[in-house]
């Protein structure tokens, strides 16, 4: 009897929380195929009267440009941030001693600072750099790229440091004793072993950059340079075009979702190294 | 203090499916009679730990049953079987030694006065009465194992299972605990099953040993019989330090021919062998080989002289390539490079089939 009650309670809680998550998702998908009249007229949770796939096509066309821009910025920025992060993490790991004890927590602390506090000083710094270097940075793709890089490298370093720390120390030592220079050790031993961790960090950072709204908002004008801006653009003073917005949001969420679907197991494998589930 | 149980392993086989398909046990049939001290002995991967887990109830065999005193317990979880286990890594809780030992009794809801009596009794037996107040985590590994043993004992289990409990201890503590465990078994008389890859532990502690390899029990016998009459070349190799020497031979006129070594046999023996094939294996333990300067069975050169402290191991090689190791007292005066005469006393020679089974 006692046994059954546990299961009952657990089931109720599960159903309740799942509903909480699924409802907005349902509303999003349902809303994506409603015509404008439908969307404005009927309650959020109603099914579409007649599915209108035009909405999706329109949303896609509107989004295409910003999606491309986001990809152009986020993908290289992710790779470079994680590369730098892993190199830095390895260097700290090798150094050991006080450096390895104090620097990572320091880096961690900087990632705790809310970006809202950092963004204004960062923008003003960018402006000054523009003046000195005579290169336009504000409201440019490459400017946004640089800011992402600056902002996200510490987090990447931290994550990579955690994964690097979990490597069996003696294998790295064996490589040094074999006569490999640190860079060779990194290339031939550390990187292959970090594999899942590296990929997990890449995925995580990419999703971060894809979903970030505030930085593109502060660094650019208009809506084209980042997908989150474009989705937000549907909120107007006159009202919000819900159906197309929903469609846009749905389409915009697809790339990260697809990444998880296809590369998700590497992410999980990477996380497993936290618990020593790897080697 | 006694709760004695007969454990019967009935036709147990087990195959693991993950991470890869591995056959762990094949057709194991063993009976552990109450009050005896038994050992499961074999190299890493032989299946002994799997078998122990099946007896304990941590694993359900893919085939076969486990019976306690005639009752089929194959589906029973460990708690219901009332088995006690002591593992390789001492399991102690973050509390005083007293509380550690009292823990299972408190779970069962016994009175504190009863618990006190039992804890004192058991800690006296194990020899940790004077550290009852110490927090268990502060103890050295050997003492922690004693606490783990005490905690297992206090439950008055039906069966005591040890999984290589001494392999993580330094040699001195290992010896100390071996003595302790043996003394314990004499006093407590519970059925004890001890899993190990160390023959010294098995031979010292157990009355009966199941020698296992590759999922099978090769021989279940007393230490003396395992040593003198190994039913299998693997048993002959595994028991003894070092293990038996083996020579590949062919049946010839009047005896066995092993390359350039000829071993004479009686007519009767040749007769027995000729019915079993033409190729055989001759086994002789290093400590039984006689080495001298005069005549013998054959001549060989000492190619390595291995100093062992208590003895010397001479690696002897004949011109025909036959290699045997002879174990002799350290005072024996044979240097590397010297030639000696080698003899095998008849009653210590064993003959096996080519596939490794004992003939005589």
């Amino acid at each position: 009897m006692k046994f059954k009650l546990n299961v009952l309670v657990a089931t109720v809680i599960l159903v309740a929380t799942s509903t909480l998550w699924i409802l907005p998702l349902y509303a999003l998908v349902a809303g994506s195929v409603k015509s404008l009249a439908d969307a404005m007229g009927s309650p959020l949770l109603d099914l579409p009267r007649i599915p209108d796939f035009e909405t999706i096509v329109r949303a896609f066309n509107a989004l295409a440009g910003s999606m491309l821009n986001t990809a152009i910025i986020a993908i290289p920025a992710t790779f470079i941030a994680v590369l730098i992060g892993s190199l830095a993490a390895f260097a700290i790991y090798l150094r050991g001693g006080r450096v390895a004890n104090y620097v990572p927590p320091l880096i961690a602390i900087t990632t705790y600072i809310p970006y809202q506090a950092l963004i204004v000083p960062l923008i003003s710094l960018i402006r000054q750099a523009e003046e000195v270097l005579k290169v336009p940075l504000y409201d440019t793709l490459h400017g946004l790229f640089i800011v992402f890089l600056i902002y996200y490298t510490p987090m990447a370093t931290l994550l990579m440091f955690i994964f690097t720390n979990n490597l069996p120390r003696e294998i790295v030592e064996a490589a040094l004793v074999d006569g490999m220079k640190p860079m060779t050790v990194y290339r031939r031993v550390v990187l292959p072993l970090l594999g899942p961790g590296f990929v997990a960090t890449l995925i995580f950072m990419l999703v971060q950059m894809w979903n970030n709204f505030f930085i593109p908002l502060s660094m650019t004008r208009g809506y084209e340079k980042h997908i989150t801006l474009r989705i937000f653009s549907y909120v107007g003073q006159a009202g919000t075009i819900y159906n197309e917005m929903f469609a846009a949001a749905a389409i915009g969420s697809l790339p990260p979702l697809l990444i998880f679907v296809f590369l998700g197991r590497y992410f999980v494998r990477g996380l497993l190294t936290f618990t020593g589930g790897g080697r | 203090m006694i709760c004695v149980v007969n454990v019967l392993v009935d036709n147990v086989s087990h195959t693991y499916t993950k991470p890869v398909v591995t056959v762990a046990l094949v057709d194991v049939n063993l009976e552990f009679k109450h009050g005896g001290f038994y050992a499961l002995l074999g190299p890493s991967g032989c299946g002994k730990t799997t078998l122990m887990k099946i007896i304990a109830g941590l694993l359900k065999p893919t085939k076969g049953r486990v019976l306690f005193d005639g009752t089929d317990v194959t589906d029973w979880p460990p708690r219901k079987r009332n088995v006690a286990m002591v593992f390789q890594f001492p399991v102690v809780y973050e509390m005083s030694v007293y509380d550690n030992i009292a823990f299972p009794l408190r779970n069962y809801g016994y009175s504190e006065s009863y618990i006190k009596k039992k804890v004192y009794e058991v800690s006296e037996l194990v020899g940790i009465k004077d550290i009852l107040k110490t927090p268990a985590s502060k103890l050295d590994p050997a003492s922690r194992q004693k606490v783990a043993i005490a905690r297992a004992l206090v439950r008055e289990p039906s069966v005591f299972l040890f999984d290589e409990p001494l392999s993580n201890l330094d040699p001195l503590s290992r010896m100390e605990l071996r003595v302790k465990i043996k003394e314990l078994q004499r006093t407590v008389k519970t059925t004890m099953i001890y899993v190990t890859h160390d023959q010294a532990e098995a031979l010292t502690l157990a009355d009966y040993i199941a020698v296992m390899n590759e999922g099978r029990v090769l021989q279940f016998d007393t230490p003396a019989n395992l040593y003198e009459y190994p039913r299998n070349t693997f048993v002959g190799f595994f028991i003894g330090n070092p293990g038996m020497n083996f020579l590949n031979c062919e049946l010839a006129e009047g005896g066995l021919k092993c390359s350039d070594v000829f071993y004479p046999l009686s007519t009767k023996e040749v007769e027995v062998l000729s019915g079993r094939g033409s190729e055989f294996v001759l086994g002789i333990r290093p400590e039984y080989i006689r080495v001298g300067r005069e005549r013998g069975l054959f001549k060989a050169k000492c190619i390595v002289r291995e100093e062992l402290g208590t003895a010397v191991l001479l690696h002897l090689e004949t011109p025909g390539g036959v290699l045997v190791k002879a174990k002799l007292p350290p005072t024996v005066d044979v240097r590397e490079g010297e030639e000696v005469a080698v003899d095998f006393p008849r009653e210590k020679v064993r003959v096996f089939t080519k596939s490794g089974d004992l003939i005589f």
Partner: protein, 361 residues
């Protein structure tokens, strides 16, 4: 191949002082065993020699050159870890080839050297496999091959046999010395096992609690242990050490052990030593008598069968003694046996300092 000299090494970890002034020499071309029980400081010492740790104080010299400040990749050392530390993502071949690739040798030379050392260690048939696919004993051979494949200044072995099954260890002991000598070079082998030490070493350095207790030619040190610490740890089976009292000393010494008195012939003790000593008796020098009228009575506590020999743990009037019998011997605990101690084989140590006063032979 060079002489390795370590001078005055001190190393402290958190609260534990691992090394307290360790100095010794490993001669070129010889196998020096670094012997000591768990926690003696063997691994720390080897890691300092390899360059994986810096000592708090002290220097390391390779052939006269001070290498203490050189990082490991510049020391040209071969190291076999206790845990083997093979590269899990590389084949056995690539694992062994690793140090040669780091040196930038041409592929043909690498191939020749890898195959030669694989042949020496009898692993030529598993070169294409991955470390996960081979047994523990094979993995250890690969680890040794990786160390021996290069021409190192010194080869360091950190208890490579400790993690292996007893039977594999037994088999490897005999052939290892041959393999090591064939390879040639300066070798330092760490182990807590006296039998392993005796089977492999030319010289020994006995380490205990971070201090060098003895060093020298291995059989010398074994047969004449400098003090009770060396006698206790560097002996197999461990030497019995009993308190005794010196009674007289004409041309030998009469030592009273309580349960018996031994006349130790030709033992000459310094005048100052009177009264109390520690007597050392090897278990192999205590004989168990099955018949006859001589001998001391003792009670069997446990007969420890080691395989082909037995250690009999005895209680002799309150003193614990261990006797070695070179065959399987069983006697139920509590039974009485008679023993005979060979007085000519007795060691005498100073009771207060533990120093050796007299050794047999």
């Amino acid at each position: 191949m060079v002489d390795v000299v370590v001078k005055d090494l001190y190393k402290k970890y958190r609260r534990k002082e691992a090394l307290k002034g360790v100095s010794f020499e490993a001669l070129e071309g010889k196998i020096t065993v670094l012997f000591g029980p768990v926690g003696a400081g063997k691994t720390t010492t080897l890691r300092i020699i390899a360059g994986l740790e810096r000592p708090d104080r002290g220097r390391v010299f390779f052939g006269g050159a001070d290498v203490t400040d050189r990082p490991p990749q510049e020391r040209n050392v071969g190291l076999v870890f206790q845990t083997f530390a093979l590269y899990p993502h590389l084949s056995v071949y690539e694992n062994i080839a690793s140090p040669l690739r780091a040196q930038g040798l041409p592929q043909s030379e690498i191939d020749e050297k890898v195959r030669r050392v694989a042949e020496m260690l009898r692993i030529s048939d598993i070169l294409e496999k991955g470390p996960a696919e081979i047994s523990g004993g094979q993995r250890q051979r690969v680890a040794i091959a990786r160390a021996l494949v290069k021409d190192a200044a010194v080869y360091l072995f950190d208890e490579p046999l400790t993690n292996l099954d007893y039977k594999i260890r037994e088999a490897m002991r005999g052939e290892l010395r041959k393999i090591l000598k064939e390879r040639g070079g300066t070798m330092i082998w760490a182990t807590p096992d006296p039998q392993e030490a005796l089977a492999l070493g030319d010289y020994v350095v006995v380490l205990h609690n971070g201090v060098v207790e003895a060093q020298g030619e291995i059989h010398e040190v074994y047969n004449r242990p400098r003090n009770t610490t060396v006698a206790k740890y560097f002996s197999y089976p461990s030497m019995n050490l009993i308190k005794g009292v010196v009674k007289s000393r004409e041309d030998g010494v009469l030592v009273d052990l309580g349960f018996t008195a031994l006349k130790v012939p030709r033992a000459k003790l310094p005048e100052e030593v009177a009264g109390e000593v520690v007597v050392g008796i090897r278990p192999t020098d205590i004989k168990i008598l099955l018949a006859g009228e001589h001998g001391i009575w003792g009670t069997v506590v446990l007969t420890e069968v080691l395989g082909s020999e037995t250690l009999v743990h005895l209680d002799v009037a309150g003193t614990r003694l261990v006797a070695h019998v070179p065959e399987i011997f069983r006697a139920p605990p509590g039974s009485s046996v008679r023993l005979l101690i060979d007085p000519g084989r007795v060691y005498l140590f100073d009771r207060s300092t533990g120093e050796l006063l007299h050794a047999p032979g």
